[in-house]
Symmetry: D2
Subunit: 292 residues, 4 copies
Amino acid sequence: MKKRKFTILGGDKRNVELARLLMEDSNEVQTFALNDTEYYLPKCKTLEEALDYGKIIVGPLPISRDGKTLNTPLFSESIELERILRGLTEKNIFIAGKIGSHFLENAKKKGIVLEDYFAREEMQIFNAIPTAEGAIQIAMEQMDITLHNSNAMILGYGRIGKALSKMLQGIGANVYVEARKYEDLAWIKNQGYFPIHLKELDFYINRMDVVFNTVPSMILDEKRLEKLNANCIIIDLASSPGGVDFEKAKELGIKAILASGLPGKVARVTAAAIIRDTIYHIIQEREEEKWD
Amino acid sequence: MKKRKFTILGGDKRNVELARLLMEDSNEVQTFALNDTEYYLPKCKTLEEALDYGKIIVGPLPISRDGKTLNTPLFSESIELERILRGLTEKNIFIAGKIGSHFLENAKKKGIVLEDYFAREEMQIFNAIPTAEGAIQIAMEQMDITLHNSNAMILGYGRIGKALSKMLQGIGANVYVEARKYEDLAWIKNQGYFPIHLKELDFYINRMDVVFNTVPSMILDEKRLEKLNANCIIIDLASSPGGVDFEKAKELGIKAILASGLPGKVARVTAAAIIRDTIYHIIQEREEEKWD
Amino acid sequence: MKKRKFTILGGDKRNVELARLLMEDSNEVQTFALNDTEYYLPKCKTLEEALDYGKIIVGPLPISRDGKTLNTPLFSESIELERILRGLTEKNIFIAGKIGSHFLENAKKKGIVLEDYFAREEMQIFNAIPTAEGAIQIAMEQMDITLHNSNAMILGYGRIGKALSKMLQGIGANVYVEARKYEDLAWIKNQGYFPIHLKELDFYINRMDVVFNTVPSMILDEKRLEKLNANCIIIDLASSPGGVDFEKAKELGIKAILASGLPGKVARVTAAAIIRDTIYHIIQEREEEKWD
Amino acid sequence: MKKRKFTILGGDKRNVELARLLMEDSNEVQTFALNDTEYYLPKCKTLEEALDYGKIIVGPLPISRDGKTLNTPLFSESIELERILRGLTEKNIFIAGKIGSHFLENAKKKGIVLEDYFAREEMQIFNAIPTAEGAIQIAMEQMDITLHNSNAMILGYGRIGKALSKMLQGIGANVYVEARKYEDLAWIKNQGYFPIHLKELDFYINRMDVVFNTVPSMILDEKRLEKLNANCIIIDLASSPGGVDFEKAKELGIKAILASGLPGKVARVTAAAIIRDTIYHIIQEREEEKWD
């Protein structure tokens, strides 16, 4: 791939690793609002210098926590998103994660090319891997038995369900996957797991040693929690508000863990590499459209 | 599941096995236009009696080969589709495979409930398994080396690609999967295969020992065939007209095999069981809609 | 299996779980010198009563830490091994782990039937599973990248090597296994891993992300540690003194972890179940020899 | 590896492929008594010239079918083994398969270095792979159902059992493995298959769809055959006389297939590559012993 000039703007340790990985690929990289203490990456002195430097400007994930200022946990000052917009031109391509609609529209009005990498399907698919490994790590830490030969159920067969089921099978668990659609159930059987239709869930759930939820709606409610055996561990991977009645679980003495944002937590460098690959795809596609 | 009355109408040995499997599940079954010599299944004397017997009437796959008469390879007389329509009432549900639009419309006009099981996604997904096994069987028969430790490429990552890649990996092949979309490529990597973007295909194809095509367009054209090593085997699983320039392959001395309709050929009973399960799903869904 | 009378004598939480598991199988169980606070297991008042109760007496693993007294971390008083010997008769079978030769001989002189479950091959094989899972858990906790798609090397292809390689492959790592004998290397290739002859180790080791050692001799010495890439994690699973120059590793800034006794630590209940199964095998074999 | 001079003497198509593979590795190769019609390999005119040419002389597998003359299916004349012995000197190393004790002793008397590659453990382990694939190919050809989701039992957990169980699991079969020793049963469970103790065999065998025998003693006798379901396929991979009562099976209408010598039949080139690798190992070991 052609070498390019990047500016990495704000963000947490993932952006530090991202900058390093981009440099390893022989790109030219400057950072701003990212005081790393590990690699002493090249830094611009001002935001303006930073925006002027890179053709491709990469912001944090999420771009902002308050909707107004850049997400800069490794920087002492606060940077208004508006200031960034003012510094960008039509020659830039601005890439960040979870870009709000307000920023998006303002950018478009100015003719700025921008893209949310977190919205891309392949990023979500890649992220399913560190999420699945993180879930397995938590399960191993919490369970008194091995995953090997345990009964493990996954609720939902989306991206995380697919990655997690294959790994659990690879470790030697008996893998049950719950889904609603016959199509998904067919895939579950096709890939060698036990398909459980939502209707059958109540019948099978009591024999599980661990349940991983990926469904973002209240699936493990009071009624189902009461059916679980006392040593069963629940790991909720669904995006907020999750699918577990945590209060009821606590009452019943069932260990239930809400696990979110696993990629950045359990595999920082992999998380950064996924962002890097997705950024490369974005650039490649734009170039094919003769953006360059 | 509730037991029911079925009439199996015409078809090949798959319908013989289907009738047997339905009986094993304690359903009441009669057949017509299906002279099996294996199980001596219960037979009706006339078409009218047959249509009168079952609430659920199951035809062949495909329902017809000429668009006018029922597909009855195991019966000496010919049965007009129109005659079947005349015998059906609103109380029946008629199920068959690859039902033409003409028959479909005529049935609808008469208020007859009918469904094409072959059009259902879960049937296609289930069929990917015997298709993948059939492809592996052919590869084993044709290759001078083991699949284990061989370089095997799959073109396309649809239903067959997904089933086949997992099995080949399970046998110990080095599995390369070609796709176009970054999303598919992400899945390919996620599941542990080597992702090959269509653009990179020319670079990798020469080191393959076997190539399975599932893409229904001319992907293995003259240019690519010339790149293949002389002992490489091609197995084309794409629906007609396939994706291989067979004439050119022959000219180059490359063994290329067009393999279609594998489920019925390599695993007759599994093929029938897939039809049975799909029929059950159809019935179940209709009952949920209070069809019963 | 026939139900029996067991006395569980001393030991840690594994013996608590063992007692519970034996009771779940409808055996009659009493404990002594094992003050559990979880299940309130039935307890004998005196050692003599305890030895009198069970036909099968199960001690701890290891039986003793000082060679003289029973290993009783959950009991406040100390129990001389000699006192146990005095209480046993020819009708008992005494089973414990890592029984010293002194105790063994004394018991034999008295005609007492005793067996060391830890010395049995199947126990060691079963223990390889929680050991492998524990190693994977540690790797996941320590690494900044996912195991999936990482380069993982296992030194040695014994019991732990075999269990660990399969699991790592199942998670999606690129698995390299080092061995010395052509026979082992043939198996490694046969099972789908990259075989690395000890002679080739120096050539491959620099590209690894994690190295698991199972060889109980100094294999990761200064010379090899210097070849490792800086982010590589070492997990030493070999029995003491292990196979890693830990001081040198520290000097080089390489994270090296000595992990021993994993089964009891990471999967207490599985560890107890393995002891239970091994005890059942011992009893079964003795009965076949008409011991009963 | 150092390049060398080889003479390939007699044998079938495997030796043709072996000669070709040795040449691909840049060795100098001449053949004798091996009239291939595929590659037109370099040929010596006389046996004497052939024996004089190569430092390493490679014979066929088996070396002889009658104990007196060389096994030369691709040559019209017959060559006495004695004549070969006369032509060899202490400078040669003679390698062949299944060398009889008579020839072996005569060679030793003359001080000739010779080795039987078929007797080496790693060759047997490597051969387990094409044997397992061949067995799977036969099962696929014979069964009316897919291996995926079928119940497959392997009798014995030796080399073939280990290779075959992993592949069958990889295809998605439910894999049951019978063994006698607790140690083997522990491994079977460890690797994720259902362990079946010989004593439990009668209880489980009736639910199998295919049984692969690797035990060279009458394990599938009349009593067990009667328990099998009628559609179950038996594939006997044990060395002669095998472990199946074939007459009784025929009587019961059960399909039982004796499959021997699979590597050469189903994967000629892989079989030759295995011989090549084993020959390289032999040479390497001898060189380490300063034979050179």
